[in-house]
Symmetry: C2
Subunit: 258 residues, 2 copies
DNA sequence: CGCTTCCTTGATTTATGTCAACGTGCGTGG
DNA sequence: CCACGCACGTTGACATAAATCAAGGAAGCG
């Protein structure tokens, strides 16, 4: 489960990788999930996947590449709500909403699995275990938004950037990236500014500052985290409980026994 | 459904009121929901309902009163993630997480319905319709967090306050409050500051400014919104699609046919 | 080439935070 | 009953983080 051949290379499917943490899916669930994720679609960098206020076209799962979710204000400024990484879902419960609250753009070339929104609702009938797993994914998304609120609300520019980068690294790891991959953050400074509620000028100066004190490298338009632990120390990043990865044993037992 | 006698007065149950919008619950679902919400518990203002990092004790639904959800930083400052109003859930999918990411305090005297977290997971087996309705509630929560990110990230202090107050009003209305009730915001300025990522001094000055231009009244430690439409105009508050209330007809049909 | 996008830097303005002091109402314990 | 502490609101003076304005440079691309 969770791996597939692409150009002869055995590749991780990040959503499966994420769900593996849960340790509740059984063989049938995995098979069902693989069926649902069978349809793949490629999108080039820059594609608008979803427009603010439009109807949900489909439920999508990011298999590879980065995307971003944003809200545009009347004056044209935008606020990036969060970044979407391999293993993240788009419009998971889209069947339950009449319109999208955010726009979504693909940032890099990306591969998405696509299925009708209604199929997700059917999952709950066919496999409560898989349904619970999807609620867990949705709950994690919400926790990342909480972290984003804390960052923007209470941290200064440098700390915000450091904290965001560590979250992204953490999520890349959860999706199955190796340590080296997870230290690379391919974001333009403009995007960081739009995500963290600051001007691009100030984002630039803050990145430079982090670079100056050795916590960040800037190479070919992407950032490298040379020392994640030092960075975590710098901004008090804590993923022990703020970003939960587990499920209580009792729940796991009740789901697997079912 | 959704009403009960309290001191001889027929009272709205806000979660039911919220779910009524969906128009998918059938008689059995409503009965099941009422069974689950049968156990009520009173808490006085100031009670700590949940500590950051603790295990989820139970799933709770706010029946009356206000609460707040927050994260505390190492230096003691805190960021309020959001406010909880009648009809909001606490730890809805708590069964799926090993620990709480946030603390929750009761702000006013409050009544909560309480049930074991595991019962929520069982709902998905017993009634996919009710399960979908709960996912919709969870999805709405997430949208409120998105709005919070936009506020803190891109609006200045006065606009943030105006926007937050309008969201709270909107949510009070959804929970069944009447127009008059929904114009009353019983929050201390310190709380507004902690929620909107500003100092209490600045929150005070901004509230005064809103009062000066006639968009806000301050009475006995609570705020009144004398003209919600003017306030919405002032801060470009838009609840048409940003805060979705509906569900596509197709989904409703597939759920009710089931 | 000339466009565009992104990054960079300096000068200046503005929004917001910090510090300090004081007032008010309220509950509590003597 | 009063005295006290406490939480909250208020205001002024000042410091600082961040936005804005402006200009120019580097890289990619038709």
């Amino acid at each position: 489960m969770g791996r597939e051949n692409v150009n002869g290379v055995r590749r991780i499917v990040p959503l499966h990788e994420r769900l593996r943490y849960l340790q509740v899916l059984q063989h049938d669930d995995e098979a069902l999930l693989e069926t649902l994720l069978a349809v793949r679609q490629d999108y080039p960098a820059g594609t608008v996947l979803q427009q603010e206020g439009s109807q949900y076209a489909q439920t999508r799962i990011l298999v590879s590449g980065w995307a971003l979710r944003y809200v545009t204000l009347r004056d044209g400024r935008r606020q990036i709500i969060n970044f979407l990484l391999p293993g993240d879902t788009i419009g998971l419960f889209g069947a339950l909403f009449s319109a999208c609250s955010t726009g979504i753009d693909v940032l890099t070339d990306a591969v998405l699995a696509e299925l009708p929104c209604a199929d997700v609702i059917d999952i709950f009938r066919e496999s409560p275990r898989l349904g619970a797993a999807l609620c867990w994914i949705a709950g994690q998304d919400e926790r990342y938004l909480e972290q984003q609120i804390v960052r923007i609300g209470r941290l200064n520019a440098c700390l915000r950037i450091a904290h965001l980068f560590l979250e992204l690294r953490h999520r890349l790891l959860i999706g199955g990236a190796d340590q080296h991959e997870a230290q690379r953050i391919p974001l333009a400074q403009t995007l960081i500014a739009d995500a963290l509620g600051m001007s691009h000028v100030h984002a630039n100066r803050s990145c430079r500052e982090l670079q100056r004190i050795g916590l960040l490298q800037i190479e070919n338009g992407e950032f490298i985290l040379p020392d994640p632990d030092a960075l975590a120390e710098y901004c008090n990043f804590d993923n022990s409980y703020a970003i939960d990865e587990g499920m209580p044993r009792s729940t796991r037992k009740s789901l697997t026994d079912f």
